[in-house]
């Protein structure tokens, strides 16, 4: 299962522990969400200020369907990444990726490390296609996924309603796992990895 917990060092020397999310992480997870800037929380799919919503999300994290990782610095959660694969049915060969990183850790390589963990798990599960759901205003997420080769395949009108009652389109971005690994190999050749696994 990827050898968790896994210690990684970010490019700036920060030590981070990555391990599966556990039900005992509820309060730490809630603190993590509360510490996000409102603009980062705005487009998430639940009201993360509400402990009950966070709890529902946590108990739903069936290891077979929701494979969820926490990144920790000390006791605090600084990143949350999920691979969602339906347990049965016609879309079992696909999986959704979700990744949230604390504001002060954005741009430091943690998101790439977490995404890479999701991609490794997806490959292990023989997933064939990955998708991410993004709101058009989530410019950074769009840029990251497009940089990885995901393409905007479908826009669902007014599918997400935010806390203020506003409705937003949802863009479904997709890639085949093969195309993703080709893209990652290309990227590896042109840039240094910012996070290194510690042995």
């Amino acid at each position: 299962m990827g050898g968790y917990p896994k210690a990684v060092v970010l490019g700036d020397g920060t030590e981070v522990l990555i391990r599966p999310m556990e039900e005992d992480d509820l309060e730490a997870s809630h603190r993590f969400f509360l510490a996000l800037p409102p603009e980062d929380r705005y487009f998430l799919r639940i009201n993360v200020c509400n402990l009950e919503d966070v709890r529902i999300r946590m108990v739903q994290a069936d290891a077979r369907e929701h494979w969820r990782l926490a990144a920790l610095c000390g006791e605090e959660i600084i990143g949350d990444a999920t691979l969602y694969q339906a347990r049965y049915g016609w879309m079992r060969h696909t999986a959704e990726i979700r990744c949230i990183v604390a504001r002060e850790y954005q741009g430091r390589g943690l998101g790439s490390i977490l995404l890479n963990e999701l991609f490794q798990e997806a490959t292990r599960r023989k997933i064939e296609r990955l998708y991410g759901k993004v709101i058009p205003e989530q410019h950074a997420a769009l840029r990251i996924l497009e940089g990885l080769g995901f393409r905007r395949e479908l826009t669902l009108r007014d599918r997400r309603r935010t806390l203020d009652g506003a409705e937003h389109d949802v863009i479904v971005m997709t890639i085949s796992i093969r195309a993703l690994w080709r893209r990652l190999e290309d990227l590896m050749q042109t840039m240094d990895g910012r996070g290194r696994e510690r042995h």
Binding site: I46, N47, E52, W90, H93, Y131, R157, R159, R160, S176
Partner: protein
């Protein structure tokens, strides 16, 4: 609040009883699926030839609200229609409709009746966006939903893998509100 069972007179002359699926319906439901043509089963979301999957699918997932109606001709289930939505989060206003009708009850008005019933339920649940997900190579079904006012929103290529391992594009249609 709608009271069930309700009786619907189909254009084939049969009067069917429509009511929510109950836990006792596993056997007739499996029979219903077994009598579908192979091609129909290929287009379904789960492999309904597997009794355990049929049983699992009868249970709503936690924190989902599901109304699953069945139409019965005497003791035989001849159609199933459902609407489901999350009970939490920022997509709880989105409902998804599913519909399966036995071949001898198609073009009898039953499918329309069932969809109207579950859409009415969707309104009572304050759903504001109704979706249907289906394989793109089902022109008759697409036409049926278009007649009800659903519009095509787009395709996800290769997102459906049927029980024979063949890939299909997933079409998402929605009903403007």
């Amino acid at each position: 609040m709608v009271r069930y069972p309700r009786v619907f007179k189909c254009r084939n002359g049969r009067a069917v009883a429509v009511r929510p699926l109950s836990a006792d319906d596993l056997h007739p439901l499996c029979e219903f699926f077994a009598q579908l043509p192979d091609e129909d089963r290929l287009h379904l979301r789960v492999d309904v030839s597997q009794r355990d999957l049929v049983e699992r699918r009868m249970q709503p997932p936690p924190y989902w609200n599901v109304l699953r109606l069945v139409a019965l001709d005497a003791d035989r289930i001849v159609a199933e229609a459902s609407i489901e939505h999350r009970t939490y989060g920022f997509e709880s206003h989105v409902g998804e409709v599913r519909l399966i009708v036995a071949t001898d009850f198609r073009r009898t008005g039953l499918a329309h009746y069932l969809v109207r019933q579950i859409l009415a339920h969707g309104i009572t649940e304050d759903l504001e966006r109704i979706e249907v997900h289906l394989m793109h190579d089902q022109p008759a079904v697409i036409h049926f939903f278009e007649k009800l006012g659903f519009e095509k929103e787009g395709l996800l290529q290769g997102f459906v893998k049927d029980i024979q391992g063949n890939y299909h594009d997933l079409l998402i249609m929605s009903l403007p509100t």
